[in-house]
């Protein structure tokens, strides 16, 4: 009588070790040669992280303004996708927003470096609905940025043309300490 109950209770305990599972089986994620990367393909539900933690839940996951997370189906762990698949200083929200509230399968790189507090941090490369054969590449960000910044069209990468970034640099310089200090620093670094 007691033994089945004990087993049931043990199963109900938080699966602390489960988060250390290996999710690399079947992954086609490309390496970024990062120190702590591990390929990881898994199924998950796309959630609004603020909603998941606090119960503050707009219907549309924040419409792209909020960070999105992945609650992994295998263990309920909240994985935080902080990066998409473009080498362009771009996050993962634009890629995951079309799947708000949906179950997905993702492939990418898990970053596990507990010495600096990095665990369950994820770079998403591919997304698809479970059972679908075709993947969606997580590289839409730059295209969406261009569509929403038609006045910033031109040569060079987006981050050189972004109006808000350029306004900040024009105001406080590349090092953020003000334009006069910026000139001094540049003279020191590039005499």
């Amino acid at each position: 009588m007691i033994r089945p109950a004990l087993v049931a209770l043990l199963l109900a305990l938080p699966a602390v070790q489960v988060s250390a599972q290996d999710f690399s089986a079947g992954s086609e994620a490309k390496s970024w040669n990062l120190y702590a990367e591990k390929p990881a393909r898994f199924e998950a539900k796309v959630v609004d992280v603020l909603c998941e933690l606090t119960g503050d839940c707009p219907a549309d996951c924040g419409g792209g303004a909020r960070q999105l997370g992945l609650v992994r189906a295998a263990d309920g762990v909240l994985v935080f996708p902080t990066k998409n698949n473009e080498p362009a200083f771009s996050g993962a929200v634009v890629e995951l927003l079309p799947f708000c509230g949906a179950e997905v399968e993702v492939d990418g790189l898990l970053i596990e470096d507990p010495d600096i507090g990095a665990t369950n941090v994820y770079q998403v490369q591919l997304i698809r609905k479970p059972g679908e054969t075709d993947w969606v590449k997580a590289n839409r960000w730059t295209k969406v940025w261009a569509e929403t910044h038609p006045d910033a069209a031109g040569p060079g990468p987006w981050f050189r043309r972004d109006p808000r970034v350029n306004a900040k640099i024009a105001e406080t310089g590349y090092f953020g300490l003000g334009l006069e200090k910026d000139r001094e620093i540049l003279k020191e670094l590039y005499p």
Partner: protein, 149 residues
């Protein structure tokens, strides 16, 4: 056996699978770009903060990469909201505070090894105080375009 069962039952009830109990904290730290910090893509953690990494922090914040608050003890909190602005993916509030050291009063959450912070009030904004550019230059080097050097 019965005692073991009781202890396990207590543990099971006291620790829900998705615990996210908030705790009010007041914490001082620098607002950082979490991708470069956690991934090591541009070097060690001391190089991807402060003045050395300021332009890249602007790029990443504008690009929707989550901003974190690195506390003085090294704990990193993923910042989900600042003073009523939940625009944690590319919002103006976070962009304007890139690389700043702030004292924040808010609610901290912990889940699955990561720490999160809802900043209810920026108590003080010390501006950019981590002047590490002489140690690391500008990281990455192309963050200052050649024509500006």
């Amino acid at each position: 056996m019965r005692r073991t069962l009781t202890v396990l039952a207590t543990l099971a009830l006291a620790t829900p699978l998705h615990a996210a109990e908030g705790e009010r904290i007041r914490v001082t730290g620098e607002l950082i770009d979490t991708w470069c910090y956690f991934s090591g893509v541009m070097g060690g953690t001391d190089a991807v903060v402060g003045t050395a990494h300021h332009t890249c922090a602007l790029w990443c914040s504008a690009g929707g990469i989550p901003v974190g608050l690195r506390a003085e003890d090294g704990t990193v909190y993923m910042v989900l909201k600042i003073e009523g602005s939940a625009e944690s993916a590319g919002g103006d509030t976070q962009l304007n505070l890139a690389s700043h050291v702030i004292e924040a009063d808010g609610i901290a959450y912990a889940r699955d090894g990561l720490n999160y912070l809802v900043v209810e009030k920026v108590v003080t904004d010390q501006g950019i105080t981590n002047e590490n550019h002489l140690d690391y230059g500008n990281v990455p080097e192309f963050s200052v375009p050649e024509e500006a050097r």
